[in-house]
Amino acid sequence: MHASGVTPRLADSSRPLFEWRWVERNADAILQRLGEHLALTATALGVGLVLSLALATLCLRYRWFYPFVVGAAGALYVIPSLGAFALLVPLLGFSFATAVIPLATYTLLILIRNIVTGVQQVPAEVREAAIGMGFTPRRLLWQVELPLALPVVVAGLRVAAVTTIGLVTVTSLLGMGGLGYFIRAGIQTTVPNPSPIIVGVVLSIALAVLVDVLLWLGERALAPWARRVR
C-alpha cells in the first residue's frame, strides 16, 4: 500500500510515451481518483476558509492579535508538506485527517491576510453610512464589509485552491488516492508506464485551471460592481 523504499525500475524505451488505450481502459478509475482529489481539495479549502474567517474576524476586532496570527500562519506555511504529513502519521496514521490538516493550514496565511486587507479596504464612508443606518457590528461585517471584500477574498481563495490541488498529489504517498495515485502508479508497475503519469499530471493542471476559472466567474457573478473598478 505504501511507497516502496527501493528505487523504481527503469523505463522501457520501446514503449510509446502515451497510450489512449490506457485512458479508455481506466476511465472508471480516472473518475474515481478525480472525485477523491476534489474531496480532499474541497475539505481542505472548506476547513481553511472557516478557520480563516473566524481568525480574521477576531483580528479585525482586536488589532493586536493580527501580527500573532499572521506570524503563526506564516510559520505553518513554511513547513514542507512531506514533513507535515510525517509529523502527523504517528498520531493519526495514514488517514484522511493526516492528509487534510496540512493542506488546510497552508491556506490560512493567504486567506486570513486577504480577508483582513479586503475588509480594511472598505471605504470609511460606507462603513459610517451603515452604522448610521443602525447596522449592528455583526450585520456590518456580514452584510457590508465581507461582501465588499469579496474580490480580494476570492483572489486569495483562487491562489489557495490552485496550490492545494497541486499539493493533493503528494497525499498519494499516504495512500490517499487522488490524481497522485496515477503519478505514483506509473513508476510502481513492473515496467514503468508513462500513460498514468501523464494523465495524473495533465488532469491535475486542468483541474487547477478549471477551479481557478470557476472561482473567477463566481466572483464576477457575486460582485458585479468590482468589474467596473478594473
Partner: protein, 237 residues
Amino acid sequence: MSFFAQLSQWLADPNRWSWTDPAGLPYRTVQHLWFSALALVIAMVLTVPLALWLAHYRRGQFVASSAVNIGRAIPSFGLIILFWFLASRWGANTDFWPLLLALVALALPPLFTNTYAGVVQLEQEVVDAARGTGYREWQIMLRVELPLASPVIVAAARVAFLQLVATVAIGAIVNDGGGLGRYIVDGFALGEQGHGEIFGGGVAVVLLALICEGVFAVLTKLATPRGLALQQARRSS
C-alpha cells in the same frame, strides 16, 4: 514495537550522526541543502538577468504576471516523477538530473515574476534621474534598478528556496537524493513499523525549513541597501 521504542532505536543507530554514511542526518542535511541551493542558483542565473532586462524595457508584462500562476498549477510531485521517467527512458543518470531539472523548473516562475515586479514597481523618477545624470541603460539596470530591487529579489529567492527545500524531500520517492525526505519515504514503506523513522525525518525536515527561513530573514535585512533602509525607517517613524 511502540512508537517511542522505534524512535529511540532510530536515533540510536550508530550511523545516524555520520557526515559520510547515507543513513546519517548530517549527510542527508548537507545533501538536502546542496540540492536546494544548486537549483536556486541555477534558477536565479536563468531568471534574474532576463527579468531585469525585460522589466527595464517593460517587455513581456503578460508573461511575467502569469508565470507564477502557471507555475502554481503544476504539481511538483508529478513533475519529479515525469522527469525521472523521461531520464530513465533515455538512459540518462536518474539520481541527479531529473530531480535537479524539476527543482529548477519549479523555481523559475516565482523568481521571474517577483524580480520583474520588483523592478517595475520602482519609482520612475529615480531611473529618470540616473538617466539625466548620464547613466547608460545597462548602468541603470546594474547600478540603480538591481540594488533597489534587491530586497524584492531576496524575498523571491526566500520563497523559492523554501519551496525547493519542501520539494527535495518529495524527490526521495524516485532517487537516492531527496535529502532528509529519504527517512520519511523509507518510513512510509515500513508502514506501522516505520512511525519512528517517519517522525524523526519529519522533525528534521521541518527544523531545516524553519532554520532556512530564519537565515533568509537575516539575509533580507543585509540585502537592503543603506539608502533604502534609511528611507523606509524615515517613512515608518
